[in-house]
């Protein structure tokens, strides 16, 4: 069954059309990569799915339910998380406080003015456990703004996963990372997303082919091809449009 489906999704910024009817199908439990040249509409696709923009037309379905135009907070509550291409953490808060905000939301402590958060043992434990899993426990009390690039990216990804979503969309999680940092991030994602459905946007073909079960190629706002990595690698249209001179 498809956990996420878009039907004829279109989006325009004024006169500039970016998505020309996208039918994306994501199967439950898979790791799916969306690739394509710059300007193909990958991030716009993410933004229309996750409520940053209301799509111009077309529909989005999550587990068969129409979620078109849902606001981000509502998507988070029904089990859809996302991370951002440009690191979007709480820069003045510590790594611990960053993750704790995600844990608080996961546990439904969204509106509590009565108990000090420090006294919520379960929240603290869960947050610390998450920090250990993502190897940020030593930086527990470091403000997010002072973390190294690799670590702040790890925090970015982990915040999307700490709310325990069923479906998570990661927008270029390896952007700007060194080879080593990328390898660590891939391992981290494998570890954290077990049993979850993952959709990634990625430019690094090594990451795509090592992580993805299936790939969708987006080209000028349309889907060029969808399939298993080998199929995509051997697809003539994809080669012509995008992979052409890449050694893959």
């Amino acid at each position: 069954m498809n956990i996420l489906e878009t039907k004829d999704l279109k989006h325009s910024f004024g006169p500039l059309a970016v998505l020309f009817g996208v039918d994306l199908q994501i199967e439950e439990g898979e790791r799916h990569a969306v690739i394509g040249p710059n300007g193909a509409g990958k991030t716009t696709l993410f933004n229309t799915i996750t409520g940053t923009y209301h799509p111009t037309s077309g529909r989005v379905f999550f587990k068969g339910k129409d979620i078109t135009g849902y606001k981000p907070y509502k998507l988070a509550r029904i089990g859809i998380g996302r991370s951002f291409q440009i690191t979007s953490t709480f820069t003045n808060l510590t790594a611990f406080q960053n993750i704790r905000l995600a844990i608080l939301s996961k546990d439904g402590v969204r509106f509590n003015l009565l108990r000090p958060v420090e006294k919520m043992k379960k929240i603290t434990e869960e947050t610390d456990e998450m920090l250990k899993r993502i190897n940020l426990y030593d930086d527990r009390n470091t403000p997010a703004a002072s973390l190294s690039y690799g670590k702040s990216r790890a925090l970015e990804i982990s915040m999307a996963l700490a709310t325990n979503p069923e479906l998570v969309l990661l927008d270029e999680f390896a952007a700007g990372m060194s080879k080593e940092e990328t390898a660590d991030a891939v391992a981290l994602i494998r570890k954290l997303t077990e049993g979850k459905t993952v959709v990634i946007i990625e430019h690094d073909m090594d990451v795509v082919f090592s992580l993805a079960d299936r790939i969708t190629v987006l080209h000028y706002g349309k889907i060029l091809a969808t399939g298993k990595p080998e199929e995509i690698r051997n697809n003539q249209a994809v080669k012509d449009a995008y992979l052409g001179d890449l050694e893959v």
Binding site: T50, K71, P72, Y73, L75, A76, R77, G81, R82, F84, S88, T89, F90, T91, N92, L93, Q97, R100, L101, A102, L104, S105, K106, V109, R110, F111, N112, L113, L114, R115, P116, V117, E118, M120, I123, M159, A160, T163
Partner: protein, 327 residues
């Protein structure tokens, strides 16, 4: 544990000091402390928006003024009303105004939020001047009765007024401090740092902002209400004017925006400078202006930030020495 006990000792010393303050320093300085406490609560209410949520309002005086007018009107028109219900009605007026404005103002931020409040603030100011029959126009409302909890009137016993004001303002300060410690306080700073991410984590940003907004108005209303009682006068210029919107912003900036105790420090500095300068010249604004320029240019986190940096420097200088001694 040791540290906790030490804290308790400091608290007890502080409370005893405040309890005996009128006896020790006389009525003039007692009134200085009441003024400071009122402006501390008022500035904290501004810091709740500015420092903790990243919302700059040029119209906080509306809520301060509504608190004052509400209480003064209640005491003038409701015979036999107690002082606490009168304060309650003033605060309720401020909260009601915030509730009415909140659906509109929580959808904007930045310059729009600031300017919208400038507009509403001026509107309320002009209304207070024009609605002469209710507000007394330029004269305001004066000489209304100020009943005490145990005495008939607090007007002739400033000492009793001091205790009443300090308890109410103390509780308000504690409540605002406590709020920063709760999960909601965390969401608040999250909105300041990155509202988009808060949304994507599953929190409702506009609704959370509305709650903060109303609470901020509530405490501004408390301050305004006590201020009106203290002077036994509520007027458009004294309580609703644009100057009353800027005063707490300046205190917050000077003390340290975003730090909880910063605004209190800012108010203390404000008052101290006022006290000292007034002995030589009437132009206290000149000195405050210079201080504000220095703070904005060189101390973005105010005096609180300066103290923190100094303390850090001292403690890092100490640790290597301590290590040497051990070795």
């Amino acid at each position: 544990m040791m540290k906790n006990k030490l804290n308790v000792v400091w608290w007890v010393i502080g409370l005893v000091f405040l309890a005996f303050f009128p006896k020790l320093f006389g009525i003039y300085y007692t009134n200085v402390v009441v003024t400071m406490a009122i402006f501390a609560v008022y500035s904290l209410s501004v810091n709740m928006l500015l420092g903790y949520t990243g919302l700059l309002s040029f119209g906080q005086a509306m809520f301060f003024g509504f608190g004052g007018y509400g209480t003064a009107l209640a005491l003038t028109h409701i015979p036999g009303i107690g002082v606490l219900p009168a304060i309650g009605l003033g605060v309720l007026a401020a909260v009601a105004l915030a509730l009415i404005l909140s659906p509109l103002v929580v959808r904007v931020s930045g310059t729009a939020f600031a300017m919208l409040h400038l507009a509403f603030g001026q509107l309320m100011y002009v209304l207070a001047l024009k609605l002469y029959n209710i507000t007394g126009g330029e004269d305001g409302i004066a000489n209304f009765p100020v009943p005490g909890l145990f005495t008939e009137s607090l007007k002739s016993s400033p000492e009793h007024f001091y205790y009443l004001a300090m308890v109410i303002l103390g509780i308000s300060t504690w409540l605002m401090w406590y709020m920063t410690k709760t999960p909601f306080g965390q969401i608040q700073v999250g909105i300041r740092d990155n509202a988009k991410r808060i949304d994507y984590l599953g929190y409702r940003v506009p609704q959370s902002k509305a709650v903060i907004y109303v609470l901020s108005a509530l405490f501004a209303g408390v301050a305004g209400s006590v201020y009106g009682l203290f002077h036994n006068l509520v007027s458009a210029d004294g309580s609703l004017g644009i100057g009353m919107s800027f005063t707490p912003i300046i205190s917050v900036m000077i003390g340290g925006v975003g730090s909880f105790f910063g605004p209190i420090l800012g108010v203390a500095i404000f008052q101290l400078v006022d006290e000292l300068i007034l002995r030589y010249t009437e132009s206290t604004e000149l000195v405050m202006g210079v201080i504000l320029i220095v703070v904005v240019m060189f101390m973005p986190t105010g005096f609180m930030g300066l103290f923190r940096t100094l303390r850090q420097k001292i403690s890092t200088r100490r640790t290597p020495e301590a290590k040497k001694e051990k070795a």
